[in-house]
Amino acid sequence: MNRFRSWLAARAFRRPILVHAHCDVPCGIYDPHTAQIAALGVVRMNQLIAELPKPGPQTGPQELEAYQHKLARYTHVKEINAEACKHELRIIWGDYFTPEHLQKFPDLHGLFWETMKLASKTRQEVNLQAAQDLLAKVQRIAEIFWKSKNVEVRKQPSLQKSGGELLYPVPAAK
């Protein structure tokens, strides 16, 4: 029955149905926090890859398979996080910032460009330093973002296994 249903579904729905996870929020809400979390994810995956015991001549086939599987997973998640970071940055860069912001923060385009390149580098390489640089750049963007709204920021420990810090907006005292 299940095989028949699968066959019928494959015939009837040759192309998957698109289901929309819409984000067209009409009230102009942007937040660089998600980009920071994604960058922190890239840092963590680099750490996990570095901590993975490397196989040697004595490694058995099962251990080798386990190593390859873990390495593939960590690399895959690193890719996803780096791409998610770029996606979030694209939204802030393209949708939030305006020419008026550029006058106030003249290095904005250069900063975004460098950050996007760095995010690509973290996809191409296993490079913890690049990942940490990416996090620092994203935090610089977050700082500019909140400054453009005249909001102070503070850094505090991420309290995640990756260590490091995250940057948060500080609500003005009433």
Binding site: I17, L18, V19, A21, H22, D31, H33
Partner: protein
């Protein structure tokens, strides 16, 4: 009024466990754009926290994927993307919250659901258009439940 094609698709898609493909970021981090799903028939009483596919209230020809937050008859409150059900905060390990969530600009942050109404929201609260904007969704707009393929 749905076309015959839309009606047939709506009827058969969950029945045949049709494949689906996520587009857009509002269900991140659980469902990234490109995630493949399989549609399944709705339970008689859909469960809170399940992922559902629904007809978009602003465009019935489009299907949205969201998470079920509120069930019929419940009192839903939200602030900065955090929900409470009948006064009890909802624990949502899957949600990506933000200091300021969409919908905070709206005056009303509390809604009592009717007998056949559901409250849906995207996991990526800062970047989701959902019941916080278009209000509760009636049962007849829910098309299917979805699970990872």
């Amino acid at each position: 009024m749905p076309t015959l094609r839309q009606a047939v698709r709506r009827w058969f898609a969950p029945l045949l466990r049709a494949p689906a493909h996520v587009t857009g970021p509002s269900m991140e981090p659980a469902l990234l754009p490109g995630t493949r799903l399989q549609l399944t028939s709705l339970r008689r009483m859909p469960r809170r926290g399940s992922v559902v596919v629904l007809e978009a209230p602003d465009d019935p020809g489009r299907w949205d994927v969201k998470r079920l937050i509120g069930l019929p008859g419940e009192l839903i409150e939200w602030q900065a993307g955090q929900f409470s059900i009948n006064g009890t905060p909802l624990q949502e390990p899957y949600a990506r919250l933000s200091a300021q969530g969409p919908g905070d600009h709206q005056e009303s942050r509390t809604v009592r659901l009717g007998p056949r109404e559901y409250f849906v929201a995207g996991d990526n609260r800062p970047s989701s258009r959902d019941s916080r904007h278009y209000g509760p969704v009636s049962r007849n707009r829910l098309v299917a439940e979805a699970e990872r393929a």
